[in-house]
Symmetry: C3
Subunit: 241 residues, 3 copies
């Protein structure tokens, strides 16, 4: 069976993807949930994008992973793009799940509307340690709109402040995703409103992949909390040959 590596989004760690990984394992696969440098307990909040990408490259090498279906959520799209660019021979397929798709020279901030970028920078300036957090009301209404309040609150409590530099650093790629000779899929949660409707995930970002497989599933940006088993099914449909 296959090997899945699930790369979390901003403010998360790998631990929040464990219920998804468990459902993938129950279907007979191996599943790993590393935490990106900058989001681990004690990590410096001045971590940049290159260090973040390298931490997942190192994870592949330390665990001797190959033939991997590499899944990235949201900010994790920056990471898996960078990992595949550096060690594409270890990657069987890339799966972007409501994830950013950068071309060479782009940052995550380049792909969000200017008011979001300004909000992040204002929050980071107030915090003073290089990190950004998400106000609860935005989280509840626009990120986890499909969950009940209790789930939304429990999930919010495990989030960690995210290093802003990983969002503003531009990525360095040898080839853009559309030219990368690795199979690609995009999982789109159809009620994901974390980006506004005139700046959607799909098809605005997905089409930067060139030929890709689309899988859609009902749910918010945070389906990992509201329905991890259903998300795992979508990832398996996206990740199979």
């Amino acid at each position: 069976m296959g090997t899945y590596v699930l790369v979390h989004g901003a403010w998360h760690t790998g631990k929040e993807l464990e219920p998804v990984a468990a459902a993938i394992r129950a279907a007979g696969h191996q599943a790993y949930t590393p935490t990106i440098k900058g989001n681990r307990p004690g990590d410096s909040k001045s971590t940049g994008l290159d260090e973040a990408i390298r931490s997942i490259v190192d994870y592949f090498i330390e665990n001797d992973l190959s033939d991997v279906v590499l899944v990235g959520h949201s900010y994790g799209g920056m990471i898996i793009t960078g990992v595949a660019d550096r060690i594409h021979d270890r990657v069987r397929r890339l799966v972007y799940w409501n994830a950013f798709v950068p071309n060479n020279g782009e940052s995550l901030i380049d792909m969000v509307p200017p008011p979001f970028a300004r909000m992040f920078e204002a929050i980071a300036a107030e915090r003073g340690d290089g990190s950004v957090v998400l106000p609860f009301q935005i989280w509840r209404e626009a990120f986890i709109n499909d969950a009940d309040l209790d789930t939304a609150q429990r999930a919010y409590r495990v989030l960690n402040p995210h290093p802003l530099k990983t969002l503003t650093d531009t990525i360095v790629l040898k080839v853009n995703p559309a030219e990368l000779t690795v199979a690609k899929s995009y999982v789109n949660c159809t009620e994901d409103t974390s980006l506004p409707h005139h700046h959607p995930w799909h098809p605005r970002l997905s089409q930067k992949l060139g030929l890709f497989r689309l899988i859609q599933v009902a749910g918010s940006h945070e389906l990992c909390f509201s329905n991890p088993a259903r998300l795992a099914q979508a990832i398996l449909e996206a990740g199979r040959d």
Copy 2:
């Protein structure tokens, strides 16, 4: 548990939302289904928008309703926006279900394509009593496309001629919905074709709410007839904290 007030659309009365209200009550909530002035048996078809809004404000006061999840369908979006502007302290959350979202000074007619406006005015001119009706073929194909013919016909027979003035009057608001400090949700039926695809409900109208919670559900503009229990579930997901 919560208190839901369901405000119907043009041509309807509260009675048509009773099956939805029953499913909301079965989940442990209170649910009310008032009929807007202009749509009650015997009402003058020259009723205007302000009178229509005031009739629901009066309903709140007569029934001493507070902490209300106020739901509006279609034209009902004009009404709940006006009610919340006048008595926002009685409203816990606004839920727009494929509903119009007006800013100050807008009429419903301003938010539909010009051919629709001309059709309504031509029908009203022919009827001569200030009311407008919907041709059956448009109702069957574009409003209740998800139902069988028998359901479509039975539903059509209970519709009442709608006062055109409520659709052409402009609304007077102290603040636009995006600035209103009340929580907001939008329920979007994904097969609603009552507005044409280049003039959609969502995101064209929903985004006028500012920060809002999106809930989507399969179904036509008239899901209250074709699947009231499923609609009730969507309203509860939209209406909870």
Copy 3:
């Protein structure tokens, strides 16, 4: 009960729609699955669009079919539009299932992005017998993205080379579909990525029908292979009065 005629798309024959027809028959209807001239074993690959349309007109006459719900898939939309234009008195309703909708004087190639047209012409030039085939990778990722690999491979093996002339010939119609006085429906598979997202099936092509009934269903362009029973249900909801 009703009479359904299912008209396949490019590269297919009627046989691939038999599982869909079987589910329609199980609901109490008659269902026919003719193969268009140009796709039958031994047919010349220089068959043009007019001959292709006439072969289905002939099928109606030979089988004395009337009061038909006429369903077309993809390229089959060209055919059913032509058939209805010639013998509209035998057609009860047209159902376009992720199908092309031509106006008078348009070809299928006019409705696809220029790179697709160039790819088809390059493949046909290489083959030299007037036919075009689809590369497996495009089939697997963009046409049958919802199936497992085994289903995708089995389906690919039954495809037949398609006569390019049927795709480049312009159609001759007495009236455009929007003016045709026959009821019309559009079935849209929501994960159909066989046309790119800036050139979608719905609403770009569906709106050429004028007033029509929209039915949506989860699935790829090739739902006939991945879930024929679910497709049959959608066709029945589209085809009923």
